[in-house]
Amino acid sequence: MAEAAAPAATDRLGPRIVVPAIIFSVLIAFPVMADLANASWLMTLATRMMIFAIAVVSLDLILGYGAMVSFGHAAFVGIGAYAVGILASHGMNDAALSFPVAIVAAALFAAVTGAICLRTRGVYFIMITLAFGQMAFFTATSLSAYGGDDGLTLWTRNTLFGTGLFADRLIFYYVVLAVLLAAYLICRSIVGSRFGRVLRGCKENERRMIAMGADPFRFRLVAYVIAGMIAGVSGALLANHAEFVSPAYMTWQRSGEFIIMAVLGGIGTLHGAILGAAAFLALEEILSHWTIHWRMIFGPLLILIVYFAPGGLSALLRSIGRND
């Protein structure tokens, strides 16, 4: 393998299309496989994985392509979930209303907090996103009308234009999959577009981008808001999936887990986010069944994976593909 030669665009395009195509094929076929294996309980886990994957894909948009290490990403998920929960508690139970509200609420929160966070760099950015995330968390715990600390139970999943589609486990699985695919395609389109090229340029060399006439702040803020909106949708789905909404959705630990999922899958790839979320939740599931001290194994295991597979699971897959 010639390393010195410039890796031509075609060389990179291969795995870029093949791996995501495999991932989504597996996800499409998964319910059938789970059914054949008589393990339909896996459907619940897979749905949860995809919901998390939506949030992590959106995180990868700003983390992997914009170098914005947001430590408050769970707040957007929580806001999306609470939009569904609060509306439902007032009898407004249709997704045609609650999902747009979830998206707008997350967008507003992202626009206001992003405009402040993005004035800072590096560690300060991480700390301020964390602080805003915690603010959202404590606000949720203080919403006594909506369950406070205990959270809020949804008596039923959202209807969709009056139909009970979300109540069907299989249909809901495919709804989540469709949203994940849409989130992936939207982000894929963005990173390759003119906008995305400016965003990536600002990650490469901010000073040069300014000298060329681009205002990094503007592009980062727009990306941040888009990521927040997508994460908000993930939260709205999570509320429906769990039929429950809780401040636990927006803890800083959850934000940290999102970052770990992104890194585990390989940042700056988008499909890595899906792999990372799936691997994280699968490991969590397996280890927690095995021993109650699973966190003691989980942490070091994650470190080992990241250490031995820098670039994450997607890089691992790519190198396997290359060796063939």
Binding site: A6, P7, A8, A9, S189, I190, G192, S193, R194, F195, G196, R197, V198, R200, G201, E204, N205, R207, R208, M209, I210, A211, M212, G213, A214, D215, F219, V222
Partner: protein, 250 residues
């Protein structure tokens, strides 16, 4: 008499106690190649920084095409027609050579909020970028990742990126810094070519290049312009010889 295209009025800047721009006034005339020379630490790069908006002056004004741009943001100035290159190569290391320049073309032409369609395959951007690369002699390296270029090639890319912004006034901070003989000769020929079509402000240590290119030369010492004149007059100026050229010849 024509008006200056770029006018520096009583500009001053200090880093702590160190005065790097000392009540400097200077007019750059349209179409001229104006060289700024001076010993290391004279404040040349700091001056370019203030003209490009990256550094905020402590006092004074910068006028561009008659308008006061002292408070204009750095990222707005290239759109007015004022662009710079960097003394220390400052490209997008992970981008290909072509994408470095194509991105400059894109930013210049606008449509930067478009989120649909792959920018990398847009022929109008890539063609304009190729033109700039051909001009600086880097066309064959278009597909190379910028970080892997040789030093001289990076200098050429640096210039191509500034050129792609189609500025009417180009601020060049030591374009030949660290390049070999052959590359310097090629750069001089290229800059000579450029000088015919736009205003150049050229900071450069290579005296041969400066005297070959400049219409006028300003000698900067300790943040002050000790002389601004034609190359011949500068060569004959005793103060300049003492302050600068003498050292250089030794």
């Amino acid at each position: 008499m024509t008006d200056p295209v770029l006018s520096i009025r009583n500009l001053s800047k200090a880093f702590g106690a160190l005065v790097v721009t000392d009540d400097l006034s200077l007019d750059i005339m349209p179409g001229e190649c104006h060289a700024i020379i001076g010993p290391n630490g004279a404040g040349k790069t700091t001056l370019i920084g203030q003209l490009s908006g990256e550094l905020t002056p402590d006092g004074g004004h910068v006028l561009f095409k008659g308008a006061d741009i002292t408070d204009t943001a750095a990222h707005e100035r290239p759109h007015l027609g004022l662009a710079r290159s960097f003394q220390i190569t400052n490209v997008l290391p992970g981008f290909s050579v072509l994408e470095n320049v194509a991105l400059a073309v894109q930013i210049h032409r606008g449509g930067n909020s478009r989120m649909i369609g792959r920018a990398a395959v847009e022929t109008e951007l890539n063609e304009a970028a190729m033109e700039a690369l051909i001009r600086v002699g880097l066309a064959e390296r278009a597909g190379t990742i910028a970080s892997t270029l040789a030093h001289g090639e990076k200098r050429a890319l640096e210039l191509a990126m500034a050129l792609a912004l189609a500025p009417s006034v180009l601020l060049l901070d030591e374009p030949m810094a660290g390049t070999g003989h052959e590359e310097t000769a090629r750069m001089v020929a290229l800059l000579k070519d450029l000088a015919g079509e736009r205003t150049l402000v050229l900071v450069e240590h290579d005296m041969q290049a400066v005297f070959a290119l400049a219409d006028r030369i300003t000698v900067l010492v300790g943040g002050r312009a000790i002389a601004t004149d034609t190359p011949d007059a500068i060569r004959a100026n005793a103060d300049v010889r003492a302050a600068y050229l003498g050292e250089d010849a030794a």
